[in-house]
Amino acid sequence: MLNQLTISELSARLARREVSAREAMQSCLERIARVDGKIHAFISHDAEDALAQADAADQWLARQGGKNAGPDGGRPLLGIPIAIKDVLAVKNQPLNCGSKILDHFISPYDATVVEKLRAAGVIVFGRLNMDEFAMGSSTENSAFGVTHNPWDLARIPGGSSGGSAAAVAADECLAALGSDTGGSIRQPAALCGCVGLKPTYGRVSRYGLVAFASSLDQVGSFTKDARDAAILLGALAGHDPRDSTSVPQPAPDYAARLTGEIKGLKLGLPREYLVGGLDAEVKAAVEAAVKKFQELGAEVVEISLPHTDYAVAVYYIVATAEASANLARFDGIRYGLRVDSVDPTELYRRTRGAGFGAEVKRRIILGAYVLSSGYYDAYYLRAQKVRTLIRGDFLKAFESVDAIVTPTTPTAAFKVGEKSDDPLQMYLSDIFTISCNLAGTCGLSVPCGFTRNPKLPIGLQLLGRPFGEETLLNLAWAFEQNTAWHREKPPL
């Protein structure tokens, strides 16, 4: 079952020429054919194109006789099938962002991250389902239908990158890319039981990522373990002159720096995160994980992030304001859906009214309101100031600790339909992940246990200093060496 392997396991087998990339891709396609009818992680996939990429990888391996391949060779990602969230441009493939408004859009170019994966020899395939324009926490807001949690099909996989998380958890691909604006990688990774990494703002290029909230969006990965996350980040990170917010700072070889040695590291436990609304089983799993880190030699201290309680309010001003501006481009003129009228303003109104779903409309309107004349200072400017306070909390905390440990989510996966009519309750489910984006730091979710009945994954969130991914990956890897949670498979 090649589809069940990690990147490093498959890479080693490919390098030894025991298996071919075509066989690996085939096993993912067979898995998709067998289980995706129930999960609906993929909006579509182009099997022929994926197999052609696999053949190209096999030809390279044949020419090299296995040299320079494998997890420790020069091309650890060669021949690895990786699926892509429907928010990233892949040349000549559809791009819909889970929305009707893009209609039959075909990407004219590759996103920088896709270009980088191709250069690394990855088989880039599939369009993974998501909340429309990455707005949501459950993958129920897609024009292409709901994605289901592989651990319990009656439950949501989280969101907005629910398709990415479900596909990796169900072994339909070896890894996946997603995007995280307020938790859209870490939250679904936690709810589906995989490793989700949101890099520091500026660490990975956003060129070719359809913009939701430009000061918060970041591309990241879903993988089966922390080592794979390190391998992938090594390929994705780095400066891109096409993204003016990407930071010109060299990326270390993350995978090579996994030592598993965490003795003496100082971890902060924010007292504001272990409060009301936190499920008892989640709390117990996180406390057990913290104990495990102590056993491994880390020092744990209580810290305070005093402005935590304001993060959701700040986020829903800043993110919606930026979204209302970014989504102005969907006007029915240059691409996508058009609902015609002889009057241009009427054409815009009708196109947008017909093309956007309910959550996207809600956020565009909220964003337009908080930016509108007479309300700008009271809402948007005030939110930006509180953002300074939230960021300040983190920078202060990182003066005394190397990383912060929290639950990724307050509860395990909720039921399909449970919160879809109550947007505010849905927003509050992101309470632990949002601050990281506002502060611009990095975050990772790693499996740390299960609820008892039903059996649902629980995620541990590690938050790091800006550009401190190395520390987070090493902590998660050390944790995985001493626990088996990340190896559990859903009953499909």
């Binding site: 959701v312 309101y369 509180v386």
Partner: protein, 95 residues
């Protein structure tokens, strides 16, 4: 957490969004609730706090002023809802 009155038609016009009467009623109520929640930001004194627009402040990022490859016209037009003669077709804007 008091709900705030929300002039949905005015804001929908600003955002160029056609809404059905049902959508207007539902959205106005939901947005009133959300704005009520957001009111909590007023508890904080932010008089001497600078706003943060970007968490990783990079200022005046420019690239060399050099001609580079860009999207071919045919590729830029490929997804257009209406096009002819290498141009986008739009409704008449000037009488």
């Amino acid at each position: 957490m008091a709900a705030v009155h929300f002039d949905i038609q005015y804001v929908a016009h600003l955002a160029r969004l056609a809404l059905s009467p049902d959508e207007e009623t539902k959205l106005a109520a939901q947005l009133g609730d959300i704005l009520g929640y957001i009111e909590k930001l007023k508890e904080l004194d932010v008089t001497h706090v600078e706003p943060t627009a970007h968490a990783v402040p990079r200022v005046n990022v420019t690239r060399p002023d050099e001609v580079g490859p860009s999207l071919a016209r045919a590729d830029a037009l490929r997804n257009a809802p209406a096009q002819a003669n290498g141009l986008f077709i739009v409704p008449k804007i000037v009488e």
